[in-house]
């Protein structure tokens, strides 16, 4: 419908343009025709006046005029100083008017009230007559009629044409857009339960093929996210199930018998520890959800990253000492960060490094200024991580070694939180593992000037 309306608007505009041009052309043609007609009439008589030598020339002129004006459409005037050589009412006026203007003149004059096209010509004195002014006028009524007829028909013709085009284009658009209607019918059928369905590409005309394939790949991406979400829900349920089962079981066992106060306290304390773990998981999940919603840091301050990492390393002081490890901080850059989140990300990276490095290892925390922010990475000697695991390290609850027990220190969200914090700072995460060194890190996007210091 919209397409048809657009087509007819275009048609209307072009018809109007063509009509206008035709109108102008016709007007010009008719004007020229009029001029020729008047000039012919003048020529008809002036020949006689120029060549005529007989003494009764004026009588013959009268006869000729009578013959020429027989159609009732032509009129003549003749003016001269000599009253014998005058013809027509108001001849003097006509002579003066035509002399004053060149070419054909449109005026109301003479016997009728019709519009006349008038022109005049001077005729030099001859042996038989003095200098004369010959004026001829031709009735324009017929020409005007042609013109009016054209105008009357032009507008309806344009409108009819536009309507015709509207009707045709509606049909044509319908036929041309049939694949689109088909696509939308197919798209309607895709839902959460039919996620594997895709648009049929084979029947698509070329101009729609690109749209179809981008739509399909958008569906692929959504499908992947959906699948991840589903498995994520399963993961969460799994993570929560164990502590919940412990809590329920232990409470039931305790309540099944009379217990002394110290025994009850012992159970409550143990329960509290489980509950704290649950609380941490829920809080972290909520935090990840915040980042997933696209939340960005709101209280960023510009800081020296080496200084902030230094504070985090200091926090780890006792743990590093216990593990006989040391952390070297290399480089520095300034960037806009929310310090508590930045500390948290670095803490998780260091924790990850300490967990996977052998006793007595040296850990390197490296800061590099980049074009649009900074990159922070933590490297530690470790068993090589198989390349297929690297990109998935940042997935929630992902463990390289699936059999590794769930330790108190890590519930499998540490690196996912690093990824969330990077995203909240407009950055991303990266990981590589080669020649016995595993490096995990993240970037900070533009927020401050982020220039490197060294």
């Amino acid at each position: 419908m919209r397409l048809a309306a657009m087509f007819s608007a275009v048609a209307l505009a072009s018809f109007a343009l063509i009509g206008f041009a035709a109108h102008e052309l016709l007007a010009r043609d008719l004007a020229r025709h009029q001029q020729e007609l008047v000039e012919d009439r003048i020529e008809d008589l002036s020949y006689m006046l120029v060549r005529g030598r007989s003494t009764d020339l004026m009588d013959r002129v009268h006869e000729k005029i009578a013959a020429l004006t027989g159609d009732g459409r032509t009129q003549y005037w003749l003016w001269s100083e000599d009253p014998a050589w005058r013809y027509g009412t108001d001849a003097r006026h006509m002579a003066e008017v035509t002399r004053a203007s060149r070419g054909v003149l449109l005026m109301t004059a003479g016997t009728g009230a019709e519009q006349l096209a008038v022109a005049g010509r001077d005729i030099a004195a001859t042996a038989v007559h003095p200098p004369l002014r010959l004026v001829a006028g031709v009735d324009t009524a017929s020409i005007d009629q042609i013109f009016r007829d054209f105008e009357i028909w032009l507008l309806p013709a344009i409108l009819c044409g536009a309507l015709l085009i509207a009707a045709l284009s509606y049909r044509v658009a319908g036929v041309g857009l049939r694949p689109v209607a088909q696509l939308s019918a197919e798209a309607r059928r895709i839902g959460p339960d039919t996620r594997d369905q895709r648009l049929t590409m084979s029947a698509l005309p070329q101009e729609l093929a690109e749209f179809g394939s981008s739509f399909n790949s958008a569906l692929d991406r959504l499908d992947a996210a959906y699948t991840q979400l589903e498995s994520f829900n399963a993961d969460v349920a799994h993570e929560l199930r164990t502590p919940l089962a412990n809590l329920i079981g232990q409470t039931q066992v305790t309540l099944a018998r009379e217990r002394s106060a110290p025994e009850l306290r012992e159970v409550l304390q143990s329960n509290l520890e489980e509950l704290e773990r649950l609380r941490t998981i829920v809080s972290d999940m909520l935090f990840l959800a915040r980042a997933e919603r696209g939340e960005r840091v709101s209280r960023g301050v510009e800081a020296s990253l080496a200084r902030e990492i230094g504070k985090t390393v200091e926090f780890f002081g006792v743990l590093l000492e216990e593990a006989g490890m040391e952390v070297d901080v290399e480089g520095d850059a300034r960037a806009t960060v929310e310090t508590s989140l930045f500390h948290r990300a670095v803490t998780n990276l260091l924790q990850n490094a300490i967990q996977h490095a052998p006793r007595g290892a040296r850990i390197t925390a490296r800061i590099e200024g980049t074009e649009d922010g900074a990159a922070i990475s933590v490297s530690n000697p470790s068993e090589p991580v198989p390349p297929e695991h690297l990109p998935r390290l940042f997935d929630r609850f992902y463990r390289v070694d699936a059999s590794r027990p769930n330790s108190d220190a890590s519930h499998g969200l540490g690196l996912a939180i690093v990824k969330a914090i990077a995203a909240m700072h407009g950055g991303r995460v990266f990981a590589h593992s080669q020649s016995g060194v595993t490096t995990v890190g993240f970037t900070l996007g533009r927020g401050g000037n982020g220039g490197a210091v060294s």
């Binding site: 143990s270 704290e276 939340e295 985090t312 200091e314 989140l341």
Partner: protein, 225 residues
């Protein structure tokens, strides 16, 4: 400390009331926004615990109307972890906020911090039973014996001694000693406490530094232990 709890969730309100009463607070409770507003405006409290989602009048509206008349410190409890709620709460004049699920120890620590604000006495000598701390000289003595502590160990001990008898959660300790403002899953605090205990308690008969399982740590002299 006189506390007003405005919380519609009965179980939450009940345990908060019990817990705070047992900590020596006098507690008023309101279960909806209208009652809460009435109590908050017409009675004087040292601090108000305000749930954001309330029937009748929500927490933000209540806070706005309260701030028009008085400046009682308010700690908001929000169920949603959205930045909007936090920003909105702080903008409307909340002094602090906690995101559910929160721990009671954490809440109590924050309440104390809010009411302590502005009237902290700056002692330079602290004493917990046989333990003496000289804050100027950064020296710790127990039963006349000098105890060698690192700077961080001293800071940790100073915090515990300043707030002796009060349970400090790992999060609070990480925040006040290391300036790490987030819920850490590391065992840094546990290890640090273990090392501190080895220095101040191990060589002596009666322990001063106690672990409250699932909650945190407290420094106090206990009779008969």
């Amino acid at each position: 400390m006189k506390v007003l709890i405005i919380e519609d969730e009965r179980k939450t309100a009940d345990y908060l009331q019990q817990g705070l009463t047992e900590q020596g607070c006098s507690v008023d409770v309101a279960h909806d926004g209208i009652d809460g507003q009435h109590l908050a405006v017409h009675h004087d409290h040292d601090v108000i615990v305000l749930d954001a989602m309330l029937p009748g009048l929500n927490g933000f509206e209540l806070l706005r109307s309260l701030r028009a008349v008085k400046n009682t410190p308010v700690i908001m409890l929000t169920a949603r972890d959205g930045v909007e709620d936090r920003v909105r709460g702080l903008r409307e004049g909340a002094d602090d906020y906690l995101i559910k699920p929160f721990s009671f120890v954490e809440l109590f620590a924050r309440l104390q911090a809010l009411t302590r604000r502005g009237r902290r006495q700056e002692a330079t000598l602290l004493r917990v039973g046989p333990l003496h701390l000289d804050l100027n000289a950064r020296r710790a003595l127990r039963e006349g014996q000098r105890i060698d502590l690192t700077a961080k160990e001293f800071a940790l001990l100073e915090l515990l001694a300043r707030r002796q008898g009060e349970i400090l959660s790992k999060t609070t300790i990480a925040e006040l000693v290391w300036d790490m403002h987030f819920d850490s899953t590391t065992n840094v605090v546990e290890v640090a406490i273990k090392r501190l205990r080895a220095k101040i308690d191990a060589p002596f008969a009666a322990p001063l530094l106690h672990t409250i399982r699932g909650m945190g740590y407290v420094l106090e002299e206990r009779a008969g232990t």
